[in-house]
Amino acid sequence: MTRSSHQLWRFHGGLKLESNKAISTQSPIVKARLPKRLVIPVQQHIGEAGALLVKKGDKVLKGQVITQSNEYVSAPVHASSSGTVIDIDEYPAPHPSGLNTLCVVIETDGEDKWVELQPTNYVKTKSPAELRQLIRKAGIVGLGGAAFPTAVKVNPGPQAHIETLIINGAECEPYISCDDMLMREYATELISGCGIIQYMVSATHCLIAVEDNKPEAVKAIQTVISEQALHTIEVVSIPTIYPTGGEKQLIKVLTQKEVPSDGFPSDIGLLVQNVGTAVAVHKAVVLGEPLISRIVTVTGEGVKQPQNMEVLIGTSMSELIEQSGGYHDDACKLIMGGPMMGFTLQTDHLPIIKGCNCLLVENKPEETPATMPCIRCGACASVCPAQLLPQQLFWMASSKNFEQVQDYHLFDCIECGCCAQVCPSQIPLVQYYRFAKTEIWSQERDRIKSDHARVRHDFKQARIELEKKERAEKLRKKKELLEKKKIAEAAAKNDTPETEVDPKKVAIEAAMKRVQDKKAAKQTNNTSSDE
């Protein structure tokens, strides 16, 4: 309906995929039951984890902040419901590694009692900086999946001028429908959130981009816009091509502009936010509620009742599956995220985190496609939305040529999986890119660490050298002192060799003299008496 009003462009490559979204959009969003136990990971975002503000045994209220950080790129985490902190320890995290991460475990008391909230009635009485602070305090991160702290993203710097705010409701990945349902049911909140962000970055207009396979969402938003007679916000229906929801791809479709390879959308006057994030901003600013829940699509052929659920952060995935009718007998694979970019989970006893938009249960027995050698057909390059050379990247990554792979812009790869999808040899290309990326990051960390070690080693060497010198100096001084003393003594001896009289000797001599005198006196006495 609005497509004609806004000119659209086309990004390179991409695929038309079967969307499979309808299976989870048949019923409205269901509120998940309050779980008995919430496991809340401390690190759910890109950036630094905050320091814990609670300890074991503490009572917490719903929305109470439990971690805080002074780092700029960070987001606090809140208690999703009221209850008692029963444990703070490492628990398995929803991460491709399956490793453990520090979590706060809260036993809920069933009261679901909020902390005191501070709503803002008139948004425009606050300055953008104050609003950013509110968003930061609410712990909002990008809900599209990347989980980058929103307060950082909406502050592109004083020199950046944001012309257009783009609200990303494309949701291009098959099966996922949480943004679709959110737009249908929370259109008013969405528009409010868009208005707040638009005011914060002083963008002249705002485009809400929705793929044309979600007419209900477009209609819902359109209704709110015309009701409120908003002129600067526009909903744009865009063609359904995967991965049009990628930030750079969406920008290309809407504006024909391209984001520089190592730049940000703000460099070309744009800011992109996910629809879920916009609703979270509305909640944080207008209602004062921190980010403690999100909408999660539970879907796939392996689950009995696919649906969208509003879930408290920290709820176990197994409970969501159970509330969605449980697994079908032939369910075989649980994926967090969509079929293209998601990753397989080993267990469903994992908490829902801020960046988790979908739980996909597949039922097809996992056929391990026989990987064949690359035949250099170039199909991957023709579908790559980042206009990279996937084949070259593959060769370089598999031969661990990490320098060259970066020259071929590995880090512009958004891991959309189009190349692997079309590869006739079934090569798991994205895995090679992920391998190369994490390997390069690891080498970078090692390099920083070795530089640090070199500095410390040099410092230690210098210190030892200095200590040695100091000791030698001390020794030399002592020796000098000793020699001086000796010389002085020797000189003294030379000065008075004879004059010096030993009092003992004198005494002895005196005594001997006395004795001799006595003897002499006696003798004289005797001779006189003899006479």
Binding site: Q43, P373, C374, S398, Y432, F435, K449, S450, R456, K460
Partner: protein, 186 residues
């Protein structure tokens, strides 16, 4: 006559360039050996001495002097060897079999119950990663430890143990897909 002119011209030119070269060699004199710095920058700085040299810099100097091979650094593994071969333009040399794979990164920790506070490990540590004083308990600053294990031999009570560096989700690495790509048999 013309030959005299030629000789004079050539002599003047050679004197001029001689002076120029002499001047530049004094003016732009480089302290130390820049190649050693470049090699040292690639070494992992564990200062462990497994290369048979007393630290990373001495090893770098030995490589620069052509006395040492580039495959003698076990902590650096293949990555370091390849980087060195690229820097120096020499053919890669296979590592000794036992160090073919990059070894697992380790740090040490002190069993503080057993430690007697002798300070021997503190003196052995090349990067000052051990905290303590005479007759006081010692402990390792894990973030500074390079995993060189030089503190272990001097310990009289064997209270220092090697532990692998803990892998966090942030430092975890994807593995290379199993080499499913095989060249078609001829």
């Amino acid at each position: 006559m013309s030959i005299l002119i030629a000789i004079i011209v050539l002599a003047t030119i050679s004197v001029f360039f001689g002076l120029l070269l002499g001047y530049t060699s004094v003016k732009f004199h480089v302290e130390g050996d820049p190649v050693v710095d470049k090699i040292d920058a690639l070494l992992p700085q564990t200062q462990c001495g497994q290369c048979t040299y007393p630290g990373c810099r001495p090893y770098a100097e030995a490589i620069a002097a052509g006395e040492a091979n580039i495959n003698q650094c076990p902590p650096g593994g293949e990555t370091t060897m390849l980087a060195l071969s690229e820097l120096l333009g020499i053919e890669p040399v296979p590592l000794d079999d036992e160090h073919a794979d990059a070894p697992e990164k380790t740090v040490v920790y002190i069993d503080e119950q057993t430690c007697i506070g002798c300070t021997l490990c503190i003196q052995a540590c090349p990067v000052d990663a051990i905290l303590g004083a005479a007759k006081q308990m010692h402990s390792i600053i894990e973030s500074e430890c390079t995993g060189c294990n030089l503190c272990i031999p001097p310990c009289p009570v064997d209270c220092i143990h090697i532990i692998p560096v803990k892998i966090e989700p942030e430092t975890w690495r994807w593995s290379l897909p199993e080499s499913t790509v095989t060249s078609p048999k001829a």
